[in-house]
Symmetry: C2
Subunit: 372 residues, 2 copies
């Protein structure tokens, strides 16, 4: 279980203020600051974040004078029940044509979500005075900074995952196939009312050399590394954690890459703080792996944001332009993967605070866990 | 179980010829016919259809001289194992920049899948001579016509769903909540190695008035209609079926809308044949609902294609431009939804043949099933 400490994010007021009304207000400010008359939001996760609506078709139009949620006739009742703080309108006929008819002036749209075809349809159906402006990422920017209730939801999801790691250790790994282990954790998540936030990775022995190995029929043996990467989605919020287990004594090579990865992971954690550039944090971990001679075997970024989606802003990696902020919830997950031999990854999920990590939501020990 | 009859689609050769090699060949012909030098495929389901690759990042470039599958380093081993008939290349560095570097001449791209932002990145990174042309739907057009093995996969998925309808009838519905019924079928699907192809709909009594009702805490009562819409995904192929059950005696209104919907559904089925326009088939069902005075209460299209995705081409509805073809697998699912009262929908999944339905994959009786 994560240990609590003084919260860096506000309970009420401030950038972390919760509730759909606060989110809509912050979006309105962002829209005005971007010089837009309104923002059209079409991504369903963003819509759920803003309004509470959980159906499969909807849109939001947010401007200084208006907060309109739109859906089709199938969701009239559901929208009336779920949507908080937005005026609900039901569109008949062709969806994009109906949406286009509601637009006016300089309208931002989510260019990172809308397809080329839908954007062209929307532009074709909009009236003369409408100017469509690429403005993706505005809601995602709000979503980065988690409020208190969101952090509690992520913590609960992470606690569930940690409990399953303990169950795996108790049951033991040797003699089980990777697929059986993955199937067990998925079934247990569902018993607990959660879903996997991504298909669990269980990579044993040589399969550990593939960072995204699909759990297969390989039976886990004694004296090898088993990397398990899993997360749950519980009440709309995700978790993500990776641990590597030793099924007995490891050879010198496996022990060494485990130690190097762990040192790198701890250096990454130590570099986390609001205001730090994501590339710096990545560098802090990566330089230890490079110094040990394994730089070519760490082919992915150090981490990513986690929230309603298991991969969201910010990105931590050598090519990221992001800067960490208090209230970000991010993974720190270096790895070393040597094809034909084995591999390892170690990952914690942490809340970024003003001067360092505010909470580490991954509670399972990293002192080379044994799970024979 | 569906009863077999003489197949309208070819076992070997012809438009239904199976296997990844045949699919790639048909795609090459479509690319040449469209006047393109190559087609860039980025949709993961299309990629799985063409190559067999099941990972989460990849692309295909198909031209007269080349069939290239691209992925990143995480999937090097998996691509080598899974991809059939395509040359495998691993891209390092930024994904879209790497992809852009492989393009040449008039390149079609999936404008209905690629976001505005990714298309702009691709165009920005491509060399001068590259012309990007909107060309979405090419692979989906191939996917419409199912080969023998695909139809068997859909039939197996549908048979699984039908078995669960029988289990529901055996267990009875009265006194159970909608959510409990939905949870039961999802759990049973998973026990059978399948996943729901969409979250099951269980809409009882007044909730039946919402075509996409989310199963809730309402307890199912005696003497009402319960509409259950569910499908499974098994071995990569989906099913979709809706039945309405009576939990005892129905009032005159519920009985009437059931009869009208059933007559409309059978008229829709009777109108299915290769060469028929989708609007005609929709009309055949819709006019019976209109004649009975419920035209305003059937607010969705008559049906849709089903395959690797639960909603795919063709679309059957008043605004569709599609024409049915032999080898299409489509739903026929009219409904009547009267807010504040109740609703009903009846849906079969059928294989389109040259002169009519070749196979009806939904085997459960529609003679107002009882499930007290």
């Amino acid at each position: 279980m994560p240990s609590g400490s003084a919260p860096a994010v506000a309970e009420n007021g401030g950038p972390g203020a919760g509730g759909h009304a606060g989110r809509a207000e912050r979006l309105r400010e962002a829209v005005a600051a971007a010089g837009l008359d309104s923002l059209l939001v079409t991504d369903l996760t963003n819509i759920r974040y803003l309004t509470g609506f959980g159906g499969t078709n909807g849109a939001c139009i947010a401007g200084p004078e208006e907060l309109i949620f739109l859906s089709d006739f199938r969701y009239a009742d559901r929208a009336a029940e779920e949507v908080e703080g937005w005026e609900v309108e039901i569109i008949g006929g062709e969806w994009l044509v109906g949406l286009a008819g509601r637009l006016d002036g300089r309208v931002g749209f989510e260019d990172d979500r809308l397809t080329v075809r839908d954007a062209a349809k929307l532009a074709g159906a909009a009236s003369e005075g409408v100017e469509l402006i690429e403005a993706g990422g505005r809601v995602e920017a709000l979503r980065r900074i988690k409020d208190r209730s969101e952090i509690e939801a992520i913590a609960a999801s992470s606690a569930l995952t940690d409990g399953l790691y303990l169950e795996l250790v108790e049951r033991g790994l040797i003699g089980r196939t990777e697929a059986e282990v993955a199937g067990f954790v998925v079934a247990r998540m569902r018993e607990e009312g959660a879903e996997p936030s991504f298909p669990p990775i269980v990579a044993s022995g040589p399969n550990g050399a593939s960072p995204h190995a699909e759990p297969g029929t390989r039976e886990i043996s004694a004296n090898e590394l088993v990397t398990i990467d899993m997360g749950a989605e519980l009440d709309g919020y995700c978790s993500d954690c990776t641990r590597a287990f030793a099924t007995g004594e490891l050879d010198v090579f496996a022990s060494e890459i485990y130690e190097v990865t762990l040192n790198a992971q701890e250096a990454g954690l130590a570099a986390v703080a609001a205001g730090r550039e994501a590339v710096e944090v990545d560098r802090a971990a990566r330089e230890l792996i490079e110094a040990a001679g394994y730089g070519d075997f760490f082919g992915h970024g150090l981490g990513h944001g986690v929230g309603m989606e298991v991969h969201e802003s910010p990105r931590l990696g050598p090519r990221s332009n992001d800067v960490l902020m208090a209230g970000d919830v991010v993974t720190i997950e270096p790895g070393i993967y040597v094809s034909g031999r084995t591999g390892v990854r170690i990952e914690d999920l942490v809340v970024v605070g003003e001067t360092g990590i505010e909470r580490n939501l991954s509670s399972i020990s990293k002192k080379l866990n044994r799970a024979a």
